[in-house]
């Protein structure tokens, strides 16, 4: 079982290598800083689906899930459970 911190670090590397976005820290606010916008959001969801093997249910999404790498990690773990 991966810990949330492990997933957070993996996500940071997904942002860097697959989206070319550098995330300074695990608790950087991705929404307020504009690092995630409507376009990167779509790409991010595709990468999450491909990397973690779950299907995103659009109706269930809340922007707050994407506030930081940690909250995304929590969302990924819930979706994979």
């Amino acid at each position: 079982m991966k810990t949330e911190t492990n997933v957070s670090h993996e996500l940071r590397s997904i942002f860097s290598t697959q989206l070319s976005i550098e995330i300074p820290t695990l608790d950087t606010d991705l929404l307020d800083t504009g690092l995630i916008d409507s376009l990167t959001m779509v790409d991010l969801l595709t990468h999450l689906e491909n990397n973690y093997g779950f299907t995103v249910v659009m109706e269930d999404l809340d922007p707050e899930y994407f506030r930081t790498l940690q909250t995304i990690a929590e969302y990924v773990q819930r979706s994979c459970a």
Binding site: S16, G34, L39, V42, M58, P63, F66
Partner: protein, 532 residues
Amino acid sequence: MTHLLQRYATSQAATRPDAIGIIAGKRTLTYAQLEEQSNQLAHLILQSGCKRGDRVCLFLNKSPSAVVAMHAIMKADCVYVPIDISSPATRVQRIVESCRPRLILADSSAIKLLNAVLAELANNQRPVIGCMDSTAIETDECRSSFDASDLHHMKATAPDSSNGPDDPVHILFTSGSTGTPKGVVLSHRNVTHFIDWIREYLGITSDDKLSGHPPLHFDLSTLDIFTTISAGAQLHMVPAMANLLPNLMAKFIRDSELTQWLSVPSALTLMARSDAVGENDFPCLRRLIWGGETFPTPTLIHWMNRLPHVQFTNLYGPTETTIASSYYTVPKCPTDPLQKIPIGQACDGEELSVLDANLNAVPQGTQGDLYISGQGLSLEYWEDPNKSAEVFLTTGDTPSSGKIYRTGDLAYVGDDGLFYFLGRNDSQIKSRGYRIELGEIETAMNALGTLKDCAVIGVPTGGYEGTAICCAFVPETDDGVSPETLRSNASKLLPSYMIPARWLCFGSLPKTGNGKTDRRKIKELFESENTN
């Protein structure tokens, strides 16, 4: 009605004072509140030393208080300049230095940007700061001279005004090819002429509910705010979060019971792709209006099938000719996904012409340069007579002032007499509704100091992003530089919508026979990378 843009609100406040004009989440603004608060703020603006014709920058998100601020500035006979507060400070600073505002109206969401911009301004260039929150702004760099808690001390009647319809109402800064944004100066008459026409054409009444989506520095924002107010209708501001997730946007449209929805093709394509809208969804919606870029026909077909009760209207026009110059309401759902959707016919008071290099009309069906003249024609680029002279041309055989604007767009007139857009004749692109000069991005990339050479290319995707911005680069040193570092550094100079999405590293850029960068070849490389 004299042609001053602030008069619509005054007239609604007189006839329907308690009607709600603006809604943003839990915040609402009635027409009486809009009128009274903007009168009070106008007095504060005058007290802070502003004189007729002075510029006032808005460091504000689109919000009810931003609409109050715009009206107050107009009532003080000043000119408002909306600033994109998500842009990096260096870019905003160039705009502030160019328009030299006497006053900046800001709120707490822009403090960081405000500090960064003010820190770089010489003391004698520093504007007065007014805060639209009820608590003052106090930081090392700035201290607000007044805030919203001072409003109720002020007179609730409008100050005397001597502006006329041909005085400037706002300056909208757009991307400039040499790296410096250029300011389009529009008059009260330019804007009220368009608003009066579009309200009648769309049949907007006080029963309508419109979406308020584009940010203030985008000229389509003028359309939603002032069409709503001129009709005494309701403007529902789209929450920032709804921009991120198509399902939230769909819920917002349903819950607000919007009747008129103004959007851009990139957002509509994203929503279609995520299947966020059901069959016969949005029962209250009467019309969907799009502008800013080409709407791919397959996506239009998706929308028209999903929403058969809705009319679909395309608006076309550059900022320089005021919001839109032509329109086309799609008569029935296209059957062929390859069918071209026209930009239509000229709006009332405007004239579109397709001309050759000698400014002679080309025959019907022949490609040429698109020129626009008429009531919407901008006064000029702000303090830039050279750039103005390049595109605002004087000819002998056009109506009105004899001035025509060279749009840089290529077009032809079809057998149906309608205008069809073909593309650009320069390096300007449209990406996600934003108008972008690739030269501005190249200038920024070269300024990073880590590249020996670079070329920024627009590659049409046919997908949700419209045109993808692609950067081919040659690192300065053998150690190389990664796309994520370039992206991160570029974000200090460029707004996020201008940052390249795709990157290719070269030892040297491909050249043509005469030694110029081979942009066609680079574009092909990006296109083949896309399909592989």
